[in-house]
Each structure stands twice: as structure tokens, then as C-alpha cells.
Amino acid sequence: MAVVQTRNLTKVFKEGELGAVNNVNLETREGEFLVFLGPSGSGKTTLLRMIAGLETPTSGEILIGGKVVNDMTPRERRIAMVFQSYALYPHLTVYNNIAFPLKAQKIPKNLHKEKVEWAASLLSIGSLLQRKPRELSGGERQRVALARAIVREPSVFLLDEPLSNLDAKLRLSAREELERFHRRVGTTTIYVTHDQVEAMAMGDRIMVLNKGVVRQFATPKEVYDDPADTFVATFLGSPPMNLVENGDLIVGFRPEHFRLADEIKEPKVTFKFKVENVEYLGAEFILSGLIMGGQLDGKKVVARLLLGHTYEIGVTYDFAVPERHLKFFDRATEKKTEARALAWA
């Protein structure tokens, strides 16, 4: 188990253009499950691959366990990686897939069986050892990929969107399995995803990236409740945070904090909300509509409400947001700024 650090890590693919990864500084904690979250093109996979040794950085340093590893091959870094497609060797049985790293590291043959069986039992795939990858389901392949990764007892796990090739139902159970796996094994893990739900559910800390730049690096609670800029604010949470302009500020409030004014007993800001669309999702409503009157007249906002009332299209309601749930961002920099009293008329 080791700590991964990067110092001013940068990767530029095309000269003169913005890098895929720009000046990223990070330090993991031992045994933590760290998530790189961002949309495609944000640099999260490039960052992961640099840590793995599959891409060479343009500048900056990577350290694993305190040692600078920039010049080390992937093999020497004692890391394990699970790819999006799992990259199982199609011509080898599951057993030989798992045993391959042991062969490559020249571990004595008599130890292979024991180690493979240990890894297989950890992931409950003992019965699949003689099958070939093409005979396995998506979930089983993930487990084989994990077994192959764990068998060498690496110091760091790197996972590149391993759930995105599974369909929705399977994804949930596979995610749980990963979480359980991490708890049992405890290796420092870096996980790349574009799915903010996965990031929130699995991560001890989340590093939010956009266009190669770190936007925020904090716990799930912090990135959700206290986003560092409008990008983080709208990237996490579904439906995304409502953002409205007020003077030189951008004010945000989450849909779940936007509800009937009467039900809020604390200091609040009220708006006239004309409902244009009602989506009934079974456990909740998603209302989208327009703010009527005042300086935000005509602005589209979304509310997310539990059951209890009925809402009709075309009707204007008195809605409000508790003041303590308002987030403030500087309009020019889009970064978080201090709370202020505002005029809404």
C-alpha cells in the first residue's frame, strides 16, 4: 500500500495548445479510494495513464511510495490496472489470465496455484478458472480483471471506468462488489469515471477535473455542499444546480432545496414559479418551469420534490430557497465567493 503523489504534472499533446493535463498536484492517503471525476476530455484518463506509466508526462513528477517513478516502466511501479474493456487475454483461460502477471514477474511456479486460487476466492470466481473470457458475462469479466490485478499484491490499484461497459442494472451490483472488494483489500485505489453518482457513492475523496485542470479536490460532501466553482456545482447532482445571475454574482441553489415557500420556516428567498413541465418519477417529482417577475423573470429553473402535493402545468406557485442553501459564485471567475445579502426584486 502506498501513497501516490503528483507535482505540477502536465501533459501536452499538441504544442501551443492547452494541455490534456495541466499542473495537477495531488496526494492520496494510504488505503483511500480516490476518484478522478470529469466529463470526457477532462484529462482524467490521461492523468491515470501517466500514473500507470503508459504515457510520459511533458513536465512534472509522479511519486509512488515516496519515490519518483517518472523513469520507471509500468512493471517497475508495482501498480495494477483494470481497463474499461478489462483487457483480458482472450486466448488464455481465466486461470492463466490471473497467473500471467505471476509468470511475468518470474514468481516461482510452485507458488502460482496457491496465489491464483487465493485471488479467485477473494472474488468468488473459483468455479470459472478453466473458462475462456468469451464465455463469461460482463460482471464475471470484471471480477477476473480484478483477480488478475490483485494477485500480484500491488501497492496501488488504478481503475479506468470499469463499469461503463455494463448496462444499468448490472452496474449497480458491480459497483457494490467493487466497494466491498476495496473494503476487504484496502489497497490505495484511484478510480476514473464520468459518472458523478459513482463518484459520490464510491469515493473517499473526489478530484473533479475539467479541461485538464483540477477544479476541486475534496470529500463527496464537500464537493456537493460546497462546490469550488460553477463547473463543480453543475457537474455534481442530478438534476444540476440552478444557476441564476444577480449583479456581479452567480447564485446557485439545488433543485431539492427549491420548494413551496410555505414549507420553509427559516430565512428564505421567494420566487414566483410557473410550472411548465411535471415529471413524476415514482419517488419524487421533477418540476421545470420559469421564474415570474423580478429581475429573474423568464429564467428557467428546476425543482425536485418529494411527494405530498400535486402540481399542475401552467400554474404559478410561491416557491422559495432557504438562504443557507444559496451558493455564491463570482460572475467573472465562476469561482466560489462569499455569501452576501442580495436584492431580488
Partner: protein, 316 residues
Amino acid sequence: MGMTPAVSADAPRPLKRARITSMGAAKSPLLGAAMFAPAILYIVLLIGAPFMLAVFYAFSDARIGSNELHYVGFENFRSILQSPSFLKAIKNSVVFTICAQIIVLICSNILAIVLEKKFLGRGLVRFLILLPWVAPVSLGTIGWKWILDSIYSVITWVLIWAHLVKPYEAPMWLGQPYLAMASVILVHCWRLIPFSTVILLAGRTAIPKEIPEAASIDGAGFWRTLFQITLPMMRPILSVAVLFGTIFTFTDMTVVYILTAGGPFNSTQTLPSLAFATGIQGSDLAAGAAISLFLVPVLVVIAYLMLRVASRTEGA
């Protein structure tokens, strides 16, 4: 190969893809038959029938210029099996083919590895490398005939210039039996390496790049990745390249005919070139046919192997 598509439910993948039949596609067998009948007819008349005829001739005493045709049983086979030039021809065919395939396999694998990644000028390199294959066989061979000429050979000139050989002891590249055999093998390799390389390149690029990356992370170096991961994964492609290469070498008469005409003293004669020499130049159609029939067993084996490769990958 490639990305694993989304899999629904945690169930084992079915091994055979379900056949999709188009809904409402009027199956008009009559139209279908009419559409491929001409092609089938052509093939039957110009390949099937001559093949039968070849068998027929092999058991007859057909000659060019003679209208007589009698059944002679196995006489032709008996006489050619006793002829030393025939036995030499069989040996040559086998030796040339096997040697060429081995050399081509090694060289084209090296070349495929070298050409895999993009680099400046790769398109031009590809054009240059393909020249031996795309130029007509006879013309490329003539080029080599000039290069291997006893007196004017450029190879000889270089050897003399490097003081490895004395001016009047120049090797007769096409005049000494073993050198001539090596020359024939050389020209075959020269022609086949481009073909094989391009096929192998296609096979290599079909391997998802994450596989060698996973191997590298697992700790495998260059050689281990090549022999334990990449080449095994390329087995169908390698088979195709080797099988086609075998056919091209084994059934070729052009290179031998132009380069050495079978000489010196029949030392480079192969089955097809001997069949030509006997049947057309020697006017003994029957014997020529009999000789060429010996190609059939090898072709049958190759056809069988090809079908096996194709069916194996279908079920994958």
C-alpha cells in the same frame, strides 16, 4: 476483439450468434438462382471441367498435335514416379515452399512490428515495400535475373569491391545448383514478404491496444508480450498468411521458368514448372497432367486448414 459491448444480465454469453433473418424479405429462390447461375456455370465449365479433364488426361496418352486418345491406366504415374527429375521436382517444391514460408514468416513479423506505429513517410515506405508484390511476377523476376546475372551481377560487384571474392571467381548465382535453388527461394520470399506483412499488420491493428498495455503493467517485457500474447492472438491471421503464401509458392511456375528454366540440370525444377516443361514444351500432355495432379493433395490439405481457421474464428 475490440470493446466488449454492453451485456445484459449476468448470464454466460451464448456461443453462437443468433441468425438474424430479415422480416418480410421475400425469399425469391428463383431470382437468387438466376443471379448466381452464370457465375457458377463459368466456374464449373472453366475450373471444374478442366480439372476433370486433367485427371482424364493423366490416365491417357494425350499429346499435343495428336488426335489419338487411349486409356493407359497408371502408366504415366509409374513412369514419372521413376523419373529422377520428377522426384527432384517434388523435393524442390516442398523444400522451396517450406524455406520460403519460414523466412517470410520471420521477416514479415519483424516488418509488421516496425511499421505498426505511424511515422513520417510511412505511406511512402508502404508503397516501396509493396512493389515486389504488386509488380507482375514475371517482371520482378526478370529484374532479379539481371541482379543475379553471372557476369554483371551487382551483388558480385559489391562482393568484389569488399574484397570478399576475387574477380574471376564470381559465384554463378543462377548457374550453380545450390545457389540457383537459394536464388529461387530468395525471389519467392522477396515477393511474399510484402503480402504477408500487410496481412499481419491488419492482424496486429485488430488487437485492442489495451491488451499489450495490460501485459506491460502485468510485468511482461517485449519478448514475452510478443510470444505469449500478441502472436497467439494473431494465430488466425498468421495461418491465413502462411496458407496463402504456401499456395503462391507451391503452385508457382513463373519464377522458376524465368529465373532458371528449371536448370542448371533440373536442379531447380518444381512440380508446376516440370509439368509445363513436360506437357507443353515436351508435348506430352498426359505426363504433364499427371505431374500437375500431384499438386492436389497439398491443395486439399491447405483448403481443409483454411476452412478450419475460418470456422474457428466464426464461433469465437
